[in-house]
Structures are given as structure tokens and as C-alpha cells.
């Protein structure tokens, strides 16, 4: 109860003081106007300062300024290369080494390319693409993906305090036995006060994808199957000490080979066309 009483008396007291203050201010209207104008000017100056410092880099060494500006570009590019290469490399594996197969089997949601198509008799026509062709197609896919992914708005803009230039994105993919190397050149150039900074090429080492080794497995399987021979998975796996697991599924009338490296998640799968007899 005491507290409540105290609270009420304070409240009335404050109302009273506010009333007195208003009366006082009416008498000081001219001064207030000046203060407001000064405040507005100060606010503009602060905003201008912020703009000049952060956007135009006024007072910052050009190299550092450009470095700061380049950093988000680089991070964005790295995010892109990671996500794009993930998609591209996984899709290549799941689709039989072809990003957009012409003839494919829809299997568990994946379009799996027929890497051996029917021929009369037991033979089949080998459609395995060469490593070079796969690399080239991966390269194109990553380049396209990067172009779609990178945020070019991170660079420049109308009020940018530097000059900038975008080159065309290019990439190089190298399939090794135990890994895939991806090199993406995203030529972003920023220049300010005769200082130029270029975004270093981006490099990705996917040692979790031993695609070269898996390609050899696919090659060996198709060499056998293309000429009408059987491919025995167990001796092959044992011979390679289980380095690659080979599973065979047979969605009628086709066959699907699923190859996984030991203790890794990457999957390469392809289909062999069968005959619905």
C-alpha cells in the first residue's frame, strides 16, 4: 500500500512538472528551432560521414578497402562452388556420368543413363563417356551453376566507391583416381586509386569422391557386359579388397549397377538396358 501511494504522488508530481516545462518552452520557441536545424545538419553530416567512410572508402587505404569489399564476394563464390559442385558431382554420379541422359531409367527417383544399350544377342552398345568428356561436361555444368549462383550485386552498385569488372566464369575439372579437383576462375576485378584487386581462382579438392577409381570399376563392368560376358561382382570386390562396393539391382528388364567407395557416401550408378521378352 505504501508503495502504491508513493507511486501516485510521483505521478501527479510529474504531471505538474511537465505542465511547467511546456509553459517554459513556449517562451523559448526560437531557440528550439535553431537547435532542430543544427540537429538535422548534424544528422546529415553523420550520414554523409558514414557514406564516405563505409561506401566510398574515404580515409581507408585502397588495398584494405578493396580487400574488405572483395571478402563477401569471395565468401559468396566459395559458398557457390561448394553447393554447385555438390549438386553437379552428385548428379553425375547418380545419373551414370551424364548430367542429362538421353536414354535413361527412372530408378528410385534418379534418371540413370543406360550406359549399355541393347544389341541383338547378348551384346550391348557401350555408351560410357570418356573421362575427358565427363570432365568437360562437369566443367560446363559447374560454370553454368556458378553463373547462376554468384551474387553479382555484392560487387559495386550505383554508389560504389571503386571500379569493378566481371569476367566470364570458367572452370576446370580434373578426375583423379582418389579425388576430383575443381578449379573455378571467377574474374572479379576491383580497382580504386590505381590499385587493382582480383579475386583469386577458387579451388576445390573433393577427396571424398574417388571418381577416377570408380570410373575404372564402371569401365571394367562395361567391358565385360558389352561383349556379352558376365560380370561377377564378388571376385571383383574381393580382388580390390572391398575398396568399392558394387551392388546390382534388377528392375525388370534392366539392370542397375550401384558403386560406392568404401566408407564414403558418394554413389555412382548406371543402367544396362534389358529386353522385355
Amino acid at each position: 500500500m505504501v508503495i502504491r501511494d508513493l507511486g501516485q504522488s510521483h505521478f501527479l508530481e510529474n504531471i505538474y512538472k511537465l505542465n511547467l516545462f511546456c509553459k517554459y518552452m513556449n517562451n523559448k520557441r526560437g531557440q528550439i528551432t535553431i537547435f532542430v536545424i543544427i540537429g538535422v545538419v548534424l544528422l546529415i553530416l553523420v550520414g554523409l560521414g558514414y557514406y564516405l567512410y563505409n561506401v566510398q572508402g574515404l580515409g581507408i587505404a585502397p588495398q584494405i578497402f578493396l580487400g574488405n569489399q572483395m571478402q563477401p564476394v569471395k565468401e559468396n563464390a566459395m559458398e557457390c562452388i561448394n553447393s554447385v559442385s555438390d549438386d553437379v558431382l552428385n548428379n553425375f554420379g547418380l545419373r551414370g556420368g551424364v548430367l542429362s541422359p538421353d536414354n535413361y531409367l527412372l530408378y528410385k527417383g534418379d534418371m540413370i543413363a543406360y550406359l549399355c544399350s541393347n544389341l541383338p544377342g547378348d551384346n550391348c552398345l557401350n555408351h560410357l563417356r570418356t573421362k575427358k568428356q565427363i570432365e568437360d561436361e562437369m566443367m560446363d555444368a559447374i560454370t553454368t551453376g556458378m553463373n547462376d549462383c554468384v551474387d553479382k550485386n555484392l560487387v559495386g552498385g550505383f554508389l560504389a566507391g571503386y571500379d569493378y569488372n566481371f569476367g566470364s566464369i570458367s572452370s576446370v575439372v580434373e578426375i583423379l583416381d582418389d579425388r576430383i579437383l575443381v578449379n573455378v576462375d571467377y574474374p572479379v576485378t576491383m580497382s580504386k586509386s590505381e590499385i587493382t584487386q582480383t579475386l583469386d581462382p577458387l579451388f576445390l579438392n573433393r577427396d571424398d569422391i574417388p571418381l577416377g577409381g570408380m570410373y575404372d570399376v564402371v569401365y571394367d563392368i562395361l567391358q565385360q557386359r558389352a561383349v556379352g560376358g558376365d560380370f561377377e561382382t564378388i571376385p571383383y570386390m574381393l580382388e580390390n579388397r572391398g575398396e568399392f562396393e558394387i551392388m546390382v539391382d534388377k528392375p525388370y528388364p534392366d539392370e542397375v549397377y550401384i558403386i560406392k567407395p568404401k566408407a564414403k557416401d558418394y554413389t555412382f550408378q548406371f543402367a544396362i538396358e534389358g529386353v522385355d521378352a
Binding site: 551424364v98 555408351h127 579451388f203 539391382d249
Partner: protein
């Protein structure tokens, strides 16, 4: 004209449309837009300018299979590669599509340093090119991979010590260091054994501490090895037996390598319902072991006979690899089946063991029918048996075909068909079989249509026979004179009665008789046909792989019409052979039944002689004969046997009476009994009569003369002359022909018996043979003279046949001639004729007439039996003539199997069906994939949904299903902490526990059938009108789990996520589902939940930072950026000391945005000076190599909760990374086209102060300051300071840029340039001249390049053996004055030219 023009316009427009309406057809594209070659695709996919042929690709030239390889490419040889694809890849084409005869594709051993690979020469070349220092070593003579690997294994190994004391354990061939005291190759020594190698041992055998972390595996080796501190192997630690399932590995990733057990400990074999190869005796399933699994025990391929595979069943192979079981289905529709076998193995510990191996093999079933040549209908029994033997031999030839013998050759593994499309009808029909059942019905039953009811038929027959019998018995009983008969008559009549009775009993009650094919009516036989039927494939009545039965594929008794006469009989017969069961249809297919019928011959048979003629024989012959005998006996007792035969002997008696002229020997017996007249012995007969015409007795139907057995005395008609008495056909008078068989005595007796009954015999024809009338016939009348008791001819009635009445002397003569013996022969013959006449009259005039004429009891009884005999003959003949034979083909029609109509087991096809709520498998079937074939076998309404997706599901889609899916909560889908707060309410569920804001919520529902569900925030929206926000995806599933994330902004859906409004609200999600039949929920299913008003009382969780928990700092760097990631928005601070959040410097505060990043985290940044939401970067680090500092991070959420404990980040300092040397440099001369160079970089300093770094190189200048972008890492780099890379380079200028970085991110770059100067051509003498301006003169030789020259005056020589000439640039001088000079030069690349001879003229 206008009309015509209009028509043409319309026609043209129509044609245009018709042209454009043609759909693009599939063609074989030489090149497709997606980069493929020889693909049979839509024409629009073809690249213009390349081939596009509207046929399959094997028909076009540019896609013919070839062997494709690239001599300078990747080294692969592609067999059966399309030509166009090969050209597109830039390969070389060889016509041998198998590549076997292509030299470049022959495999051999490719040795590259310490490695070896069994590859083609082309590939060896490509692989070797990676290591320019190494020459390609391809050994064609090595034929196997094992032999190839042994080449490297058996190579001499030891420690290779370089001049800078770098020690590497390798092969001798790989060590190129010149041998010295402390350098070179030390064979058989590990590097840790050499004092001058600073490699600390790990192997206790060499003084190591045995730290298990210093172990590792070697490529292509099974065992675990020690590794010294330099990373060189140091001997065997543990021997692993890969054959027993052990291999070097570190699956725990703790750097401690061990022999890891690769065997499988949890497999399908563990399940109780497992069906497949039995591995009980083997214990563990070892690595590489494989076995068969299938759906039914009957599918074991070892079972004989086979063909018992259930519909929808499939074979599977399981493999144990790396401790994991892999299930591989054999081809569906049982195009393949699994076979297994065991091999003996010796394990590591010399224990004997067994290894099971299995594989899927092609099912060659379609050749089985070739071995069915035996045909019981077209072959006789012998040929049929022979054919069966040959068929069985053919059938069991497992090399050629996979068949099984069950009396017919059937597939050992019955193939599957798309039975739902009636596929396989032609195959099934091969098993359709017919079995003939032959029925016979006698004539009277057939006429009376009473075959089906033999009792009824017997009634009618009995009625007829009984009526006659009644007459017999009545008469016999009534007269009561039997006792007065003589014993012989009694016996004779008794015998006749007995035989008559026998005939009656045998023939009376007969209906349908089963002639053959009784076995066809049995269930066993039906089972036999059906079993053969279903062994042919998915045919007949059979069970599916879950044991559900369907009999619709097998039709039996298809030809039996219930309206036919024999229907009832057949059913009764079936009941007899089937233990009282009426098996008109097969009910339960059974493999165990009908086995004995597999080899049986089922042929059609005719009724047997006895079946067909029994009635006739018994009734007509036996019965009629019996009655005849009885009748004759009774009648003959009074009227004589001749008369008895004629009048009481029925048809047979009559026949006999015609054939027998006299009663013969029976007469005296009768005569004795009557005791009335004397009999003239045969010997006293007149010779004249004996000369009368002899007529042999005719045979009856070809039978011999009758033998009559009367009273036990054989009475054989005697042969000899006789008298003929005939009925004149013209006058209608009887003409009696008395044969010689009638004894004279009998004739006399008959005549005397007759005399009392008449007075005149008219028209008796007599053949006489006299002197003047030889062989002539005369006719005369006779009169009985009672006084003389003799027959006397009436002379005036004598007529000579063909002449007329005779008179005068001829008359007298004939009278005398006739009467001369009248009383003995002619007259008595005439009396016999009278008897026969009476019999004929009785037949013609009826019994009453006879009765009136025969007044005695014997005659009456005899007449009765006579009637019976006639009746029986008629009965028998009718019975035979009207008999009916029916052949019923019992057909087992084998049609494709039909799925059960009523089923609710479709879902049991899905592997998910056998996974419980804890996601544990409950059956081995959880490993068996469902397929359309398996699904369809479970029921006519079963359909496989979501084809081609990861969620293929077999469900029942019945048109009678009008029920929408039932939705219930799926508790397991909810977050574990909330499961106990889920309350089912009317029309949905409610999560009573509040969800904290900013948490990700998992919710789930379960439907009673596979369904597709949608969700909405609006209620009462029809399913089809709901937006496409699928609850748990668009597939048809039982279980639907949905993630609801980021409940912080607004009540909208976005992609797969459903976003809720801010906290403090109650949310309702309205769900409706649809099943595969299109039934949708009429009402919403509501999930109600609450999100907390006060988001949380707990501090945010610091998940990580952008630098992790430990980071090296670049040398010279005193500040760094850092992102902090948390689970909710807020702000974070860092400090050098661990203090309360509020005490941490304000400047070191960063704020995260209120929206999460892509991973759902909230992050804020500390960077440089820190502006706005960016906090002050971490500055003042000032660390050198070997030093570290910790910073402490704490965060506070928007509610003011902050961390009590800090997240610690350790910053580690580093020194500059330096590159000390980069080699080679300058010029390198060589006379070879390619030259081995080692690129070498020496580093120092860095994070670990020892120069350890990763170095890379490139030849691209643009990458010279981009270590990440550089092409290649040095082959030896990492924790070493000397980084080397062998290169194999062509001549020319080379510049390599190297970059190295250490763990702190210190990067250093450098480069080297060098030239490889190669000249492989010898120098040429361009000019020779003699300078005569000096004395002595000087001979000048000018070369085309820099070099050196020598000369000789005597003979040709090799460079090095001559005298040096004076070099002046490219001009070489020698003193003149000699007539001849031999010159040899060498250029600076050491190319020698041949001698040049210079003659000075």
C-alpha cells in the same frame, strides 16, 4: 468452279495440318544435343548436320560397334563402342569390337616405380606420363594381375637415403641416389635401423615404443605395419588373413590400425522366417561369402522335381562385403535363379572350413518343351515308353536347359509372366491335358434313357423278363405236372431254367459302364495336370509367394454339361474314386498329390468284348438256349423231340429242327418212356430211301453243326442220305426236307405221334431215284390209315414236278415205289414235316393256335419256354444293336494364373512392411525389394505406386474401395520430448506442450493406406483446392513426416517448409489426404499446437565459430575476423579473459540478424573495427610461432538470457613460411626429346617452425599467386621441408610457379625458370676452305652450330679419339699442308656426326 476451288483450299489446308500434326518420331541420332552419341531418341534431340536415321542404332553404319581407343588419351580401350561416339571422343576405331585383337589393348604389367598395374599398353603409357622421371615399363609377357603385382612385391626393398639424409623405404629400382657411406640404397634395412636417418622407430623390435598410432596399411597389402616417424614402413605388426575376413584398417579413425574383422555378424539369416541357403554349420558369415534367398522352401534349386516356384516369387543373392550384407535380386519374373555351392577352405589357423558361394544364373526354361515328344494318343504303348525314356534323358540335360522331369519336361524354375496381361497363355496352354473317359450303356437302357439310373433301367428290363418269368412260373406251378414228367425231362428243363436264370441275373440291371479312364475322375489326376500346368510358369491354380491361393487359372471338366445323360453317373463315379467327394473343380493345389500320374498313360479304350456282347451272349445265346432246351424238353415229351424243337425250342430249336432231320438217338429214349411204338432200326432202312437226296446240314452263321445235349446223351446228326420235304413256295404248302440226320426211328415215332392229329398230308415232295426216274421229285398227298396204322399215298395225287399229274403205269409204279417203303420212310418223313409245319403255324398263328393244337401240359409249358426263348433273342439283339458308347474328354485347361480377387495383403510386398516402429527389421523380407510383378501377384487390385521413385509402394486399389484414408497420429515422427504430450482430440490431435519459439518442429501422421496428404492453414478446403503443400511429400505413403521450421515471421508456407507466426499463438494445421483410388477426406484432420509466448529462458547455444575452436594465425597478423554461430538470434561478445557476459567489452559485441542462414543458424561477425551489428574484430594477437592465446565468447538472446560458460577459441601463432630454394634453374642440355627433371622446393619456418607445408606448382602465370588454384600438389609434400615433384618435359623454356601454405594459412610463392635444350641432330659441316694467306695455310671447317671438332690424318675415327681443332666460334681450324683430313665433330648436346673426309687439291 468455286466449289471446286474451295474444296482444293480446304484439302490443302487439311494436308498442311496433317503434316504438322505428325509427332516427332524416335530416330537413331549420331549426335545428340546433350552430347551423347548413337542414342535412339526423339528426333528433336539430334544435332543437325549429323546422322538421324529412323531405326534402331544397331542398324545404322555410324553406330556400328567398334573398338575405340585413344593412342594419346586416357589409355582406355572401349569395347563395343559406337563409331560415332568414338569419333566424337577423338578416338581411333578398330573393327574388332571386342578389342581382343588390338595390340594396343592387350593387357600387360605396367610397372611404375613401386607400383604395378595390369592394364593395356595405351593406358600404361598414359599413367606413366604422370611421372616423367620414370620410364614406362610395360611387360607384355605378364599374363595375370597376380603375377604383375608379384613383380613389385618381390622387388628388393630397403631404405633409400638421399644426400640430405632424407630416408625413404622403397625398392632398389626406385632409389637413384648414388651409393655412399650414408647415402644410397641400403637393402633389407628399415630406415629406423640406420643411425644416419633421423627416423624414430615405432616397431618394438627395432627399439620403438610400440605406440599403436604409429601403424598403418600398405596399398595392395592385407597386413598391419609399423611406421617410423618419417612415415616409412617398419615391418609387420599384425598379419591379417583377408581370406578369413580380416584386413588392415582403421574404421574407428583413431590412427590405430588393426586387423579388422570384415565378417558379417548380423544378416538375413538371423530372422526366423528366413528362407534360403542354410549356413547353420558355418557360424559367422565371412567376408565375400554369398548365399541364396528366396520366398519359399519349394524354390530350393536342389529339389527334384522343380517347377514349384510360387507366383510372384523371386530369387535373391546376399553377399557379405566389408561386414555388410548386400542383397542383390536375381532378375524378376524368375528370368534368373540363384544357385549355391560350398567350397572347402583352409583358414589362417589351418582350420578347415567351408565357404558358400552363390550366383544368379539365367533360367533357360524355354527349351524344356523340346523334350516333350511322347504322345499317348498317337503312339502305341511301346513307342510311348521309348519316347518317355528319351524325353527324360533330354530333359535332364542341365548343360543345355534348366528343366525338371515329372513325367513331362517342365521348367525346373517355373518362369513368371505378366499374368495380369494374360502373358504366357501360349506357354500355359502347352500343359493343357485331356484324359478320355469311356462310358458304355446297353441297348435297352439306352432306348429307355435310363443309363444314368441302372436301377430304373433294371426295373424295365426286369419288368420284361419278369413278365415272361411269371408266365413260366405260373404255368409251371399251375399245371403242377412237373412231377409226372420223366427224370430226363426234369433234368433237361432244370438245366434250361438254370441257364436262363443265369442270363437274367447277368444282364438285367445294367446302366452306364465305365470302360476306361476311371483315373481321370480322381482328384489326384486333376492335381497331376494342374501341377504340370503350374510348373510351366505362372499358370493354373497356384499360390502366390505369400501363400494366397487362386484356382481361376485352371479349368477342369470343362466339357461336362449337366444336361447330358451321363452327368449323374460321372459324378457318382467321381465320388467313388474320391472318397465321397464331388471334385468337379480343383480346390486346393497340392504338389504332393498326383505324383503317380506323372508317368501314366491315359488312352482311350473301346468297350471290351464282354462289356459290349455280354448281354447279347447271355440273353440271346445262353438264355434263349436254356429256354429252348426247357421248351423242347417239355414239348418234346409229348410231341416228340423233333416237334419239341420246332414248337418249344424257340428260335434255336426251330433252327435246329430245320437242320436236324430226325430226333436221332433221342427217339428210343423217348420211345421207351412212352412205350408205344416199335422202332425200326436204322440198319433196316430201305436202300431206296437211303438213296434219297442227301443234303448236308447248313451251318448257322458259320458255326459247326449243332450238338445237342439232351439228357446227357449226345445226339449227333448222322450223315448220309435223307428225304426232302419243302414248303412249296408257289402253292404255299410246306415242303419238308428231311435230312439224313433224322434217324428213321425218330421219324417213325414222330409220324405215329402225328397220325392221331390229322388224316391227310398234302403236297409231300419226295425225291425218288428209280430206274426210270432217277433223281426226280414227285409230289403226293398221303392219308393215314387208322386200320393199318400206316400212311398211304393217294395215287391220283402223285405229280411229277415239272411234268404234272401222273397216271397210268407211271402212277402205279410211283405208288408202288413210294408205298413200297411208305410205312417206314416216306410217310414218317412226311410226319416230321407235319410237325414242322405245326411249329411254323404256331409262330405264324400265335400261341393260342398251338395251344389249341397242343392240349397237353408239356406242350403248354414247352410253348411258354419257346416264347421266352424268342423273347430273349429279340431282347438280346435289341440290347446289342441299340447299345451306346460315350467318350468324355476330361480336360484340364491350363491358363495363365489369375491373382486373388479378394485380398488385403498388397502391402506385404513392401519392404517397409517388415520394419517396426523402431525402424528395426522384423523379417528377412525387409531386404527383398518389391516389384510390379510381386505386387500384382498379391491381388487383382494391387498396384505399385510411385514407380521409379524411392518410395515405390504396393497398395490395393479396389474400385469397391470408397473409403478415404484414415489419419492417426504418428508419434515417432514427433520430437521425442513431445510424444507424451500428444493428445488425440476429435478430428485431430493436439500437442499440449508448448513449443519454444525458434525451434524446429517435427510432426507426423499415419494413414491406414498409402496416401498423399496436403496441409493448409485454412479449414474446410477441398483436397483438390488445397495449395500444393504436401505433408511429407507428394508420394503415396503410410507415414508422413513434416518439418515445420523457423516459427518467427508470418503465417505462410514457403517451399517445403511451413512457417508459423511469431510465438505466443495457437496454431492449427488442417490436413487432408487422398488414397490411390482417389478417395479424399471429407473432413480436415487438425493438428493443434502452441508456441510459447516467452520464447525461452535459456541462453543461446554457441554452435561453433568460423575459425572453429582452434586456429593458427598467420605470421604477422594481429587481428582476425570471426563469425559466431548460435541457435537463436541475439548478440555475442568476446574477451581475452573469461568473465561474465555483461562485463565483456561492449565494443566486442556483434548482433545476429533475426533471420537464419541457409542452415538455420544465426551468426554474427567480429571484424576489424566493428561497425553497427559487426563487433570489434579480435585484435592484439601478437603471437609468434609456438605461442598461443585463448579468447572467450559468450552470447545473449533477445530475451536477455546469456551464457554462463564461455566458448573458448585458441589462437595459435606462427612464423613466416619461407621458400629457401627452388630447383632446377638455368639451362639443361640433352640430346633426348624428353628429359626427366625434378622440381624441388625447400621450405622453412611456418606454423610449426620446421618448414612443413603443402606445396603446389603450376606453369600458369595467372596462378602464380594462387596456391589454391595451382594445378598440382607436389608428389612428396606435407610435413616435410623438401618438396619434390618429378617432371618429364620436352625441350624448351620452362617456368614453374610454386606456392606453399602451412596450417596457419601462411602462404609463400616463388618460381623458377630453366631451359631444356635438346638437340638430337648431329652438327653439319657447312663450309670448308683453306686460308692460303698464311703460311702454312690453315684449313677452316665451319659448323652449323656450336660444338667441337677433332681431326685425324690417317683414318676414320670416333669423336674423342682425334686431335682437337682450334675453335673460333663455329669455325674450327687446323694447319694445312696435308692432302687429306678426317674430321669428326660433336655439338654441345653431344650429338656426334659421322666422319667427314676433306681432300686438299
Amino acid at each position: 468452279m468455286k466449289l471446286r476451288a474451295l474444296f482444293q483450299i480446304v484439302l490443302i489446308i487439311g494436308m498442311l495440318f496433317s503434316v504438322y500434326s505428325v509427332e516427332a518420331a524416335n530416330v537413331c541420332c549420331e549426335r545428340t544435343v546433350s552430347g551423347g552419341s548413337c542414342e535412339y531418341v526423339d528426333q528433336t534431340q539430334c544435332v543437325k548436320g549429323f546422322g538421324a536415321t529412323p531405326t534402331s542404332c544397331d542398324q545404322v553404319s555410324y553406330c556400328q560397334p567398334s573398338c575405340c581407343y585413344d593412342q594419346n588419351g586416357d589409355g582406355y580401350c572401349y569395347a563395343n563402342y559406337p563409331r560415332a561416339a568414338c569419333e566424337a571422343a577423338g578416338g581411333l576405331i578398330e573393327s574388332d569390337s571386342t578389342c581382343e585383337s588390338v595390340d594396343a589393348c592387350t593387357k600387360g604389367c605396367c610397372v611404375i616405380g613401386t607400383q604395378a598395374a595390369f592394364v593395356t599398353e595405351v593406358r600404361c603409357k598414359a599413367e606413366s606420363a604422370i611421372f616423367p622421371d620414370l620410364e614406362m615399363d610395360f611387360r607384355k609377357d605378364v599374363l595375370t594381375e597376380a603375377e604383375c603385382l608379384d613383380i613389385v612385391r618381390s622387388a628388393e626393398q630397403g631404405c633409400c637415403v638421399s644426400t640430405d639424409a632424407t630416408c625413404t623405404y622403397t625398392t632398389k629400382g626406385s632409389c637413384e641416389v648414388e651409393q655412399g657411406d650414408k647415402s644410397g640404397f641400403f637393402s633389407g634395412k628399415y630406415c629406423s635401423q640406420l643411425d644416419f636417418c633421423s627416423c624414430a622407430p615405432a616397431n618394438p623390435e627395432y627399439g620403438g615404443d610400440g605406440n599403436a598410432e604409429n601403424t598403418g596399411c600398405l596399398e595392395n597389402e592385407d597386413n598391419v605395419y609399423w611406421f617410423d616417424s618419417c612415415g616409412n614402413q617398419e615391418g609387420l605388426k599384425e598379419e591379417c588373413d583377408y581370406g578369413s575376413g580380416f584386413l588392415c584398417g582403421d574404421s574407428e579413425e583413431n590412427d590405430e590400425y588393426t586387423c579388422e574383422n570384415l565378417n558379417c555378424f548380423e544378416t538375413s539369416l538371423d530372422f526366423e522366417d528366413y528362407v534360403g541357403t542354410s549356413l547353420d554349420e558355418l557360424g559367422d558369415v565371412v567376408n565375400g561369402e554369398s548365399w541364396c534367398m528366396y520366398d519359399s522352401e519349394d524354390m530350393d534349386e536342389d529339389l527334384e522335381p522343380g517347377g514349384k516356384d510360387p507366383i510372384g516369387s523371386r530369387y535373391y543373392r546376399s553377399v557379405c562385403i566389408n561386414g555388410k550384407e548386400i542383397n542383390e535380386p536375381c532378375a524378376d519374373f524368375r528370368k534368373e535363379f540363384c544357385v549355391d555351392g560350398t567350397v572347402d577352405i583352409i583358414k589362417k589357423n589351418n582350420e578347415e572350413g567351408q565357404l558358400t558361394e552363390a550366383r544368379c544364373v539365367e533360367n533357360v526354361w524355354d527349351l524344356c518343351n523340346e523334350c516333350n515328344t511322347a504322345n499317348s494318343f498317337s503312339m502305341d504303348a511301346f513307342d510311348y515308353e521309348e519316347a518317355l525314356v528319351a524325353d527324360e534323358y533330354c530333359c535332364t540335360d542341365r548343360v543345355t536347359r534348366d528343366c525338371s522331369w515329372m513325367g513331362r519336361c517342365v521348367p525346373k524354375v517355373s518362369p513368371g509372366f505378366k499374368f495380369w496381361e494374360s502373358e504366357g497363355a501360349d506357354i500355359c496352354s502347352q500343359a493343357t491335358a485331356t484324359c478320355p473317359v469311356v462310358l458304355f450303356c446297353n441297348g435297352w437302357n439306352a432306348l429307355l434313357t435310363t443309363c444314368d439310373s441302372p436301377v430304373l433301367g433294371g426295373f424295365f428290363t426286369g419288368l420284361i423278363m419278369g413278365a415272361v418269368g411269371a408266365i413260366v412260373s405260373g404255368l409251371t406251378m399251375g399245371i403242377g405236372t412237373a412231377a409226372s414228367f420223366g427224370a430226363i425231362a426234369w433234368a433237361t428243363s432244370g438245366g434250361g431254367l438254370a441257364s436262363n436264370l443265369l442270363a437274367f441275373v447277368q444282364t438285367a440291371p445294367r446302366g452306364w459302364i465305365l470302360v476306361s479312364g476311371k483315373e481321370c475322375l480322381s482328384e489326384e489326376y486333376l492335381q497331376s495336370i494342374n501341377n504340370i500346368c503350374r510348373a510351366h510358369g505362372d499358370c493354373g491354380a497356384d499360390y502366390n509367394f505369400l501363400g494366397e491361393k487362386s484356382i481361376d487359372g485352371f479349368l477342369s471338366y470343362g466339357e461336362i454339361d449337366p444336361e447330358v445323360e451321363y452327368y449323374s453317373f460321372l459324378r457318382e463315379e467321381m465320388m467313388k474314386v474320391n472318397e465321397g467327394k464331388d471334385y468337379l473343380n480343383l480346390t486346393d493345389p497340392d504338389w504332393e498329390k498326383g505324383v503317380e500320374f506323372f508317368d501314366g498313360i491315359h488312352e482311350q479304350k473301346d468297350p471290351s468284348f464282354s462289356q459290349k456282347y455280354l448281354s447279347f451272349l447271355m440273353t440271346t445265346i445262353v438264355g434263349s438256349l436254356g429256354a429252348s432246351v426247357a421248351g423242347t424238353a417239355f414239348y418234346g415229351y409229348e410231341a416228340g423231340w423233333k416237334e419239341g424243337l420246332r414248337r418249344g425250342g424257340g428260335p434255336l430249336g426251330l433252327l435246329v429242327s430245320f437242320l436236324v432231320p430226325a430226333a436221332g438217338k433221342a427217339a428210343p429214349i423217348v420211345d421207351a418212356a412212352v412205350n408205344e411204338k416199335s422202332v425200326t432200326p436204322a440198319s433196316q432202312q430201305s436202300p431206296a430211301l437211303q438213296q434219297l437226296t442227301v443234303k448236308n446240314p447248313p451251318s448257322i452263321f458259320g458255326l459247326p453243326p449243332l450238338k445237342l445235349d439232351i439228357g446227357g446223351q449226345p445226339q449227333v446228326a448222322s450223315e448220309g442220305g435223307g428225304q426232302v420235304v419243302k414248303i412249296d413256295s408257289i402253292t404255299g404248302q410246306p415242303i419238308y426236307e428231311v435230312s439224313a440226320e433224322d434217324s428213321l426211328e425218330a421219324q417213325a415215332t414222330e409220324a405215329s405221334a402225328y397220325k392221331s392229329r390229322g388224316s391227310t398230308l398234302k403236297g409231300v415232295t419226295t425225291k425218288i431215284k428209280g430206274e426210270n426216274n432217277v433223281g426226280q421229285e414227285v409230289i403226293a398227298d398221303y392219308k393215314y390209315n387208322t386200320e393199318t396204322s400206316k400212311w398211304e399215298v393217294i395215287p391220283e395225287t402223285i405229280k411229277q414236278i415239272g411234268v404234272g399229274t401222273v397216271t397210268g403205269p407211271l402212277q402205279q409204279k410211283l405208288t408202288g415205289l413210294i408205298m413200297g417203303d411208305a410205312n417206314s420212310k416216306v410217310v414218317q418223313g412226311a410226319a416230321n414235316a407235319a410237325n414242322d409245319k405245326l411249329a411254323a403255324e404256331r409262330l405264324a398263328g400265335g400261341v393260342s393256335t398251338s395251344l389249341t393244337k397242343a392240349s397237353s401240359a408239356g406242350a403248354i409249358v414247352g410253348s411258354a419256354f419257346n416264347g421266352i426263348a424268342w423273347s430273349q433273342m429279340v431282347y438280346g439283339i435289341v440290347d446289342l444293336a441299340a447299345a451306346q458308347t460315350e467318350v468324355i474328354q476330361i480336360t484340364g485347361t491350363c491358363n495363365p494364373w489369375v491373382a486373388p480377387r479378394e485380398t488385403d495383403r498388397c502391402e506385404e510386398c513392401n519392404p517397409n512392411f517388415y520394419i517396426d516402429e523402431d525402424e528395426e527389421k522384423t523379417s528377412f523380407r525387409a531386404s527383398l525389394a518389391c516389384s510390379e510383378y510381386r505386387c500384382k501377384s498379391l491381388g487383382a487390385s494391387c498396384e505399385l505406386l510411385n514407380k521409379g521413385s524411392e518410395e515405390e509402394t504396393c497398395v490395393s486399389i479396389s474400385k469397391y474401395d470408397a473409403n478415404s484414408p484414415t489419419i492417426v497420429p504418428w508419434l515417432e515422427a514427433f520430437d521425442e520430448d513431445y510424444r507424451s504430450f500428444i493428445k488425440e482430440v476429435s478430428g485431430g490431435l493436439e500437442v499440449t506442450q508448448e513449443y519454444p519459439i525458434y525451434s524446429t518442429i517435427k510432426i507426423g501422421i499415419q494413414t491406414n493406406e498409402p496416401s498423399q496428404c496436403k496441409m493448409s492453414f485454412e479449414h474446410s478446403v477441398l483436397y483438390d483446392n488445397m495449395p500444393s503443400y504436401y505433408f511429407g511429400g507428394s508420394n503415396y505413403n503410410y507415414f508422413h513426416e513434416q518439418l515445420i521450421a523457423y516459427p518467427d515471421t508470418k503465417n505462410v508456407t514457403d517451399g517445403e517448409f511451413l512457417e508459423l507466426t511469431k510465438g505466443g499463438s495457437e496454431y492449427q494445421i488442417f490436413i487432408r489426404c487422398v488414397d490411390a483410388a482417389g478417395n479424399t477426406n471429407d473432413k480436415d484432420y487438425v493438428i493443434k499446437m502452441h508456441v510459447s509466448q516467452e520464447p525461452d529462458l535459456t541462453a543461446p547455444v554457441i554452435l561453433t565459430t568460423s575459425v572453429g575452436e582452434e586456429v593458427y594465425i598467420n605470421s604477422g597478423v594481429n587481428e582476425t575476423e570471426m563469425n559466431v554461430f548460435t541457435n537463436e538470434p541475439g548478440e555475442c561478445r568476446w574477451s581475452w579473459i573469461d568473465q561474465k557476459y555483461t562485463d565483456m567489452p561492449d565494443t566486442n559485441t556483434c548482433k545476429s540478424p533475426n533471420y537464419p542462414d541457409l542452415l538455420g543458424n544465426y551468426d554474427c561477425l567480429f571484424s576489424t573495427d566493428g561497425v553497427g551489428d559487426i563487433g570489434q574484430g579480435i585484435s592484439g594477437i601478437n603471437l609468434r610461432g609456438g605461442q598461443f592465446k585463448d579468447i572467450f565468447v559468450k552470447c545473449q538472446d533477445l530475451a536477455g538470457n546469456y551464457n554462463m560458460e564461455s566458448f573458448k577459441v585458441r589462437l595459435k601463432g606462427s612464423d613466416n613460411l619461407l621458400i629457401k630454394t627452388v630447383l632446377p634453374k638455368g639451362d639443361i642440355f640433352t640430346s633426348e626429346r624428353m628429359f626427366n627433371v625434378t622440381l624441388q622446393v625447400g621450405t622453412d619456418g611456418g606454423a610449426n617452425l620446421d618448414g612443413s607445408a603443402i606445396c603446389k606448382f603450376t606453369s600458369q602465370e595467372t596462378l602464380k599467386n594462387n596456391v589454391q588454384g595451382m594445378d598440382s600438389e607436389f608428389i612428396s609434400t606435407g610435413n616435410i621441408s623438401i618438396h619434390e615433384q618429378p617432371l618429364y618435359l620436352v625441350s624448351g623454356q620452362h617456368t614453374y610457379y610454386v606456392g606453399c601454405y602451412d596450417v596457419a594459412g601462411n602462404v609463400v610463392y616463388n618460381q623458377t625458370s630453366f631451359s631444356i635444350l635438346a638437340d638430337i641432330t648431329a652438327p653439319i659441316v657447312q663450309r670448308v676452305y683453306e686460308d692460303t694467306s698464311t703460311s702454312p695455310t690453315i684449313v677452316n671447317i665451319e659448323l652449323n652450330e656450336d660444338g667441337f671438332c677433332q681431326y685425324s690424318l690417317e683414318e676414320s675415327f670416333k669423336y674423342g679419339e682425334g686431335i682437337d681443332m682450334i675453335k673460333d666460334g663455329n669455325v674450327f681450324k687446323v694447319q694445312g699442308g696435308e692432302p687429306r683430313y678426317y674430321i669428326a665433330c660433336r655439338d654441345v648436346y653431344a650429338n656426334d656426326m659421322n666422319n667427314v673426309v676433306i681432300d686438299i687439291m
